[in-house]
Point group: C2
Chain length 433, copies 2
Amino acid sequence: MHFSVRSFYIISIMEEELIGNCLVAQSGGPTAVINASVAGVVSEALNHPCIEEVYGGMNGVLGILKEEIMDLAEESQQNIRGLRYTPASALGTCRFKLKKDQEYERILEVFEAHNIRYFFYCGGNDSQDTADKISKLAQSKNYALRVIGVPKTIDNDLVTTDHCPGYGSVVKYVSTIVRETALDHEAMGQHDLVSIVEVMGRNAGWIAAGTTLAKSKENPDDAPHLIYLPELPFSKEKFLDDVQRVLKKNRYCLVVVGEGLIDKDGNYVANSTDSQDAFGHQQLGGIGDFLANYIESNLAVKARSSKLGTGQRAATHCSSKTDNDEAFMAGQAAVRAAVEGETDKMVILVRAEGDTYECETGLAHLSEIANGVKEIPSDWIAEDGVSMTAKFIKYCQPLIQGEVEVPYENGLPAYVRLSKRRIRKVLDPYNFE
Amino acid sequence: MHFSVRSFYIISIMEEELIGNCLVAQSGGPTAVINASVAGVVSEALNHPCIEEVYGGMNGVLGILKEEIMDLAEESQQNIRGLRYTPASALGTCRFKLKKDQEYERILEVFEAHNIRYFFYCGGNDSQDTADKISKLAQSKNYALRVIGVPKTIDNDLVTTDHCPGYGSVVKYVSTIVRETALDHEAMGQHDLVSIVEVMGRNAGWIAAGTTLAKSKENPDDAPHLIYLPELPFSKEKFLDDVQRVLKKNRYCLVVVGEGLIDKDGNYVANSTDSQDAFGHQQLGGIGDFLANYIESNLAVKARSSKLGTGQRAATHCSSKTDNDEAFMAGQAAVRAAVEGETDKMVILVRAEGDTYECETGLAHLSEIANGVKEIPSDWIAEDGVSMTAKFIKYCQPLIQGEVEVPYENGLPAYVRLSKRRIRKVLDPYNFE
């Protein structure tokens, strides 16, 4: 009791102590809800007088290096509200990785020039690693800066957090497509069709695994019939056996495959020499086409493939309300944590124990996030290697619940573009070498 | 005045005259709204006492040949209601083409055995041709039968009707995906990315053309930047020029391509020898991958492709309310026309003149539909060959308006499966030869 009163006292002092501007930026591949996190940051920041200006960094650290900073307080309320239901990264994003000390120092120089005291970085492992290093450099230089990461990734591979904002929405969309595609195949009434749906997930099968939710509870023979995860070494022989087993029971076989499928030697299956064209050019066809070709070359059946591509991570029109709410909440929580004196942490999602799904936010050290990759627990994958266990379904099902009310205009989703009014640069241009 | 009273009298007599059962069936590729048409038929049929039983044919004419007929009156009200928002063909469909006289005679034999006096066939050109022949055979044999076609095709290529149920929904979905994908590319801030979205449309570019709606009115530089239609012979040289022109203005170039792109000699571009693998197997990669590979082999830029595949025609989760309403209305209109004594006709959609979109149903002779293919008028394609004119936009825009309220359960669309209770067979099995 004494302790909690005391900590409250310390927090109040710290909130008073650090007055300055905040900057939020986005990094890595976009998702359907990463803008909801930015909307959460902006909405919450306006509640705290210690935060004076609310800035956005253009294209992650790349824009910060160039001192390209936009004034988010100048955006209309409609824009900030619309941001919550707009896919992709409205501030711009990058895959640029800071390498040199000089680059980290430049970031701090820009922060100092604009009195940025709060830095919120929405991203995955690499981004949180960057945030960690910026935070530590600031500490070593006695520059008062609070750095809080906001988790983001469709890949769902960040450690310490129960799941990642962005994941539930991509699963909801691809599962919807699998369910709809399956109904189409069922209706066609034709025999011996193998249909392959290629989904994202270069190193982890979280997305492919999630499509198991497309099965209705009543019908275990529903699609997807086979799910191939990059976690398990792919065997062509087993693949043919699996498909034939399904085709004995069902008229068609719907296969979901994660793009980064590897063989037992760790090589990407779709990048084998078989997939080079006559001139030796590497074919871009992807694993879906590769498997469809392989089926047609080896079995007397028809094969088709779909590749949902970039659109799947931007499918806000079919995103999860749970995911959207949590992404927004994670943005708000980041601001509250920083204002309360926390730094060098990432917001995490913490699932309550018990049968009813409840989720609240917590904090973890950035360094923990940066160095880990969350894998699918082995007992969440069934022994056949091509389906998921009840444990996985229990984990994943709550994440896709609820539909967002995307605003429509003229028959299509009315997504916002920020006006991106830049603040005046005060430093010399940065020399990229 | 005298005439109109008289015709009313005749109709009443005919309505009294033809008492019997009705059968509705689906044919060809499914759409997001073909079940809405069946729902329209069933709902309307229940209003007319001259229609006694409401049957559904399994898998189009194929099931009728086999006397596989389901009793739609046995389906629950929820199922018929849910049908309106369920993709694919709930009765089952087929691509089977009746060829022999004997097959047509068998159809009539089945109709006679079950006192089927009303036949509603939802489908495209081939299906309406089949319906026409069945109708004419019935007339020649003095078997009283009223045959009304219900238009259906995502390809939008039926003549006499302003547009086809199914088209507005596929355009709404693929345009949504193009808009979302474009926001993702914009956010990535990378230069020189060519992104190719392959959509359906083997012989006509109606679907690819429709994605022009993804552009916002305010921004002519919005994606899609280039649209390639099967109507225009494809030139690789022009393609490279087009892409380079776009990349001078924009960081990325989003290309939409109809799957059936042909070259000046009428050959499918994606089936050229370049796309065979090392063993001479025809590659299934499709035109999207082919173009992506071609770009990477010829320009120093990155190329990616998506292939939306079967799912695009089943995407009821993102379907057009206008399209759904019209599909339902077409089903209702078919029943009303038949009851009023019409036969050997297809329901068509008639757009009112003037600036406000209004649409009502009309009728056209089945023989007209069977022999025509509606092409995109040449002045709806811009002179650059890769964009659409204002005339096309004016035509297409109204068709994607409004969103349907798909019921959700447990985070995914709750689509219905009919119980498909069969009626008892009374004939000998049909011998397929």
